[in-house]
Every structure is written in structure tokens, then in C-alpha cells.
């Protein structure tokens, strides 16, 4: 029995088979009121070289290091104070006793 002779039957069977799973590709209704538009969509991990990969792990570490240095520097600079001149004078007058 040759397949071409029963193409209508075969075609119907295939269509029926595909239609069983057609719901998988159907569009879903999204309620926009509940969508958080601030969520950043990331690329699938298997895609290595698209524009999402501009920040790779080395650069992410570098950015974190810069952030740490910035916070370290700020914690000193934001609180920096000069010495009271009167205290400096006390050091002058008692220098050798302070060693």
C-alpha cells in the first residue's frame, strides 16, 4: 500500500495529532495591571554572545569592587575632620613625653 494513495487519511491523522498540542503555542492573556514593568528580562543562558552578555562575570566583579572602594572612600571622606589647633599645640609642648 503506497502512502500517496492515502494522503488524505495520513494528512488528517497528522493534523489531528498536531492540534492536540496546539494549545502550547496559543497566546496567553496577560493582565497588564499585574505586570511588574521593572523586571529586567534576561537572555537564556545558552545564548552566549547576544547583547545581554555585555556585563559578563569579570565585569560584574569589577563593578562590585568599584562599589566597595567607593563606599570605603566615602565612609572616610564623609566623616573627615581637622585636628583642633589647641590639641596640636599640646603635642608640640609635650612631644618627647608622648613617645
Amino acid at each position: 500500500m503506497l502512502l500517496p494513495q492515502f494522503r488524505n487519511l495520513v494528512g488528517s491523522a497528522v493534523t489531528a495529532g498536531v492540534l492536540c498540542y496546539s494549545y502550547l503555542g496559543a497566546p496567553t492573556t496577560i493582565n497588564l495591571d499585574t505586570v511588574n514593568t521593572n523586571i529586567q528580562i534576561s537572555a537564556p543562558k545558552e545564548i552566549k554572545y547576544d547583547y545581554y552578555q555585555i556585563i559578563n562575570s569579570d565585569r560584574a566583579v569589577m563593578l562590585e569592587q568599584i562599589d566597595i572602594i567607593h563606599k570605603f572612600a566615602s565612609s572616610i571622606l564623609d566623616n573627615i575632620k581637622d585636628l583642633d589647633p589647641e590639641f596640636s599645640k599640646t603635642v608640640d609642648e609635650n612631644f618627647w613625653d608622648l613617645i
Partner: protein
């Protein structure tokens, strides 16, 4: 916009990945780790002098008094500049500042300001707390640790100098009090830089051309 390659130049580059991670862990924990972690024992028996080292018995003159005494001092010179293996046409001298006992400094302030009624004890306590938090711009706080027996301070504005080869290799090991860790050294260089190179001094430095 600054590139990542450019940014990389401003991050520590000479460290192993473990040491780099350790450094950033400490910088992240600052200021809750101003303690023995600023020192390392790793280089204690090294014959080279390192920037930031504490050294016993350095000669010192406290001008205008011209008497010469001996003090424990902290090396401010760059390590390369005082390395004896670097042969130079004109050898650089070593600059250092005296290490002062914080407890004695505190008692001195109390005696001269609190006992005379000029200041409250709270103001002195607050000042000492600021020193311990590294908040005073030209004072570097050295917590007790290693062979440094007392909490101490270094004034960046009380510097002397001597020939770099005044100490031989044996003397360096014998007289060394401490060497700073990567974290301690970073903190030290940061404060040293702020003290000597901060730009915002409020002085207009108009060039000759502008007003002639």
C-alpha cells in the same frame, strides 16, 4: 563614558586572586575592622623596608628644638624609592613620621584641657573616638598588634628624613615593629593621599597670563 579597561587600571592589579578577595572583603567590612587586621606577619623577617613599616629607634629632631632623639617611626617613603637594590644616580632619602602613644596623648590632652577647665572630658573622649575611626585627616591610627604594644598614632605633618641606607638588612629585621597588610596598606595610602594631595583648598591659582 569610561571603559571597563580604563576602570581596571584603578583597581589593585598586583595581588593574587585570593589576596584580592581578602582585600575587598576587608574594605567592605570597613570601618568595623580597624584592628590587628591592618598588619601582616608575612613580611616580618624580610630584609627590605616597606612603605608603612613601623621601625624602632629612628633619629628625630622636633624643630625648633634642635636636640636629636630616637623615636619609633612609620615609613612614608615609597618602597621602591628606599629599596637598596635600586641603584640610582641620586639615592632617595627615607621619610618617616614618629609613632606616638595614644594613651599618653589622651592623658596629655586631659591634663592640659580638662584639668584646666577649658574642655569637657566628653570632648576629649569624642576626639579619641574620632582618631580610632580614622576620621582625623592627618592622623593615622595604629591599633595595638604584633610588636606594637600600645594603641598609637602617626601625625603626617611631623615628618623627618634620613639616608635610606642608614639601616642595614639585619637592623631592618631587628628594628621592625610591624608591616601593614594589603588592607592596612590601602587604608594608609588612602589617608596619606587625602592629606597630601586633596585638591579642594579654596585657593584661586590664576596663572600670570590671565591677569597680566
Amino acid at each position: 563614558m569610561i571603559s571597563f579597561e580604563e576602570i581596571k587600571k584603578y583597581l589593585p592589579q598586583h595581588l593574587s586572586s585570593t589576596a584580592e578577595q581578602e582585600l575587598f572583603n576587608e574594605l567592605k567590612a570597613f570601618p568595623h575592622n580597624i584592628d590587628q587586621r591592618i598588619y601582616t606577619a608575612y613580611l616580618h623577617n624580610h630584609t627590605n623596608l616597606f612603605q608603612g613599616d613601623g621601625i624602632q629607634n629612628l633619629l628625630y629632631i622636633h624643630f625648633p628644638d634642635t636636640n636629636v632623639g630616637q623615636v619609633p617611626g612609620m615609613i612614608l617613603s615609597n618602597t621602591c624609592d628606599i629599596d637598596q637594590s635600586n641603584k640610582r644616580l641620586m639615592p632617595l632619602r627615607m621619610v618617616y613620621a614618629p609613632i606616638i602613644n595614644l594613651g599618653k596623648y589622651e592623658q596629655s590632652l586631659i591634663k592640659s584641657h580638662v584639668d584646666t577647665g577649658q574642655r569637657s572630658i566628653e570632648s576629649i573622649n569624642s576626639h579619641i573616638a574620632d582618631i580610632r575611626k580614622q576620621h582625623i585627616s592627618h592622623i593615622f591610627y595604629l591599633p595595638k598588634g604584633g610588636q606594637l604594644e600600645n594603641d598609637s598614632i602617626v601625625f603626617f605633618d611631623r615628618i623627618n628624613n634620613c639616608p635610606s641606607n642608614l639601616l642595614d638588612e639585619k637592623s631592618v629585621i631587628h628594628q621592625r615593629i610591624f608591616t601593614l597588610s594589603d588592607y592596612g596598606f590601602y587604608l594608609f595610602l588612602f589617608k596619606l593621599s587625602v592629606h597630601f594631595t586633596r585638591i579642594r583648598d579654596g585657593v584661586s591659582r590664576t596663572s600670570f597670563r590671565s591677569y597680566n
